[in-house]
């Protein structure tokens, strides 16, 4: 006689296996998205998105451009400067230019400037210096890329959460239908609804703990093997937080569904 199975896992083993397998997959995807975002955030924190624009002038352009670079190299917070191709610049400006075709001569030279985030970086001071060398030369901070990433991250997470909730909603609904006789007979022989609810919650809490314990090594192995990924120091904290939130949401879902289901089973 397996008292634990009768109390906490009254349905078929297949139901629990399916619940575990689907949740392991979702947790790995969820952790992958979170880890990727945090990694990007960390990279973005160590640099800022800064662009340098140098309009093409006819007189001594290359000499003057070198002078600008000399000025920039004197600045400690600038790590490197990379030139963007004309094609890339046209692509960036395509929304503004619509169908206007620009000749390469009038397109300014644009550089991606890598800057240390830890050091203070005063754009105005540099701009004052470089505009004296070439009129219209400009260095500017651009924050567009990060906000796009942020939207992408949140929409990804939102879609995944909806899928997780829907999957678990239907799994739990099906599960409750399967244990209908168990619930009914328990009630007919005097078992309180709260005890049934508590036992089912304990059962699913154990399953989710198992799911998270299995997901961790799988996720680590996958990341190590496929991406040679180095985990962030606070990954364990994120993992535990995800575990707590995930558990609370699924168990709340189960409790609400179970309560509604039991209420509709029979009047008394």
């Amino acid at each position: 006689m397996n008292f634990l199975k009768i109390k906490f896992f009254p349905s078929n083993i297949e139901d629990y296996l399916y619940f575990c397998a689907s949740n392991i997959i979702f947790i790995i995807i969820l952790l992958g998205i979170i880890e990727k975002k945090l990694e990007k955030k960390n990279i973005n924190e160590s640099k800022s998105e800064v662009m340098l624009f140098i309009p093409k002038v006819h007189d001594d352009f290359e000499e003057k451009r070198d002078l600008i670079f000399n000025q920039l190299s004197a600045n400690n917070s600038i790590i490197s400067v990379n030139k963007l191709e004309n094609k890339e610049i046209k692509k960036i400006l395509s929304d503004t230019l619509k169908n206007i075709d620009l000749s390469d001569e009038i397109i300014p030279e644009v550089y991606d400037v890598q800057v240390k985030a830890s050091k203070s970086f005063d754009v105005d001071i540099i701009n004052n210096k470089i505009t004296k060398i070439i009129d219209g030369a400009l260095i500017d901070k651009i924050g567009n890329k990060e906000s796009k990433d942020f939207i992408l991250f949140f929409s990804g997470i939102a879609v995944l959460i909806i899928i997780i909730l829907l999957n678990n909603f239907f799994l739990l609904k099906n599960y409750l239908v399967k244990i209908k006789h168990y619930i009914n007979l328990s009630r007919y022989f005097g078992v309180d609804d709260i005890i049934i609810l508590r036992n089912l919650n304990i059962g699913f809490f154990i399953l989710l703990t198992l799911v998270f314990s299995v997901s961790y090594p799988i996720f680590k192995t996958l990341m190590d093997y496929n991406f040679n990924h180095v985990f962030l120091n606070d990954f364990i904290k994120i993992y535990l937080l995800t575990y707590l939130i995930y558990n609370s949401i699924i168990l709340t879902f189960l409790s609400i569904q179970c309560k509604i289901y039991m209420k509709n089973l029979n009047i008394l």
């Binding site: 328990s186 009047i267 008394l268």
Partner: protein
Amino acid sequence: MLARVIGLIDKPAEGNLYLLGKNISRLSRSELSSIHNEIGIVFQENYFINEFDLETNIIFPLILKNEKKNDIVQALRELLPWLSLEKVIKEKVYKLSIAELKLAQFARAIIGRPRILLLDNFFKDVDSGIQKKINYLILALKKIGTTVIVFGQSPDDRTVNFNKKYEIYNKNLEER
């Protein structure tokens, strides 16, 4: 229908039902559970959980009510020889005969020592040998203060002793 109402499965269509001195229409869900606790019911249809074996089907309400494991095992050991269910106790319920299932239902209903035992159409397809065994158990239950209510077809008066018999006539219960 009457068995289901007294068994607190269905609500009475009208009027009040008093069980163990309480009006059931005024009770909360947990208060109803405590009254359910005092009622053992044998259903007309064989109502079991197919995933469990017979033993689990008989004792699972006690397990959920956190009865001591030793007490449950002891109660089962005392009950099974009376009902000749020892040989099939580890079988899945779908492998059992109708008579075995009836006896199993009876075992499940009385293992918790209820104050009221409801037998819904229980004696319909039960042979006289089993009727006698059941009668001994009913007598034993009556001695410890259990009220036994039998619904439906009446068994042979020589095998089962009843204190009172009623008939529903014109929506009224009339003593026979």
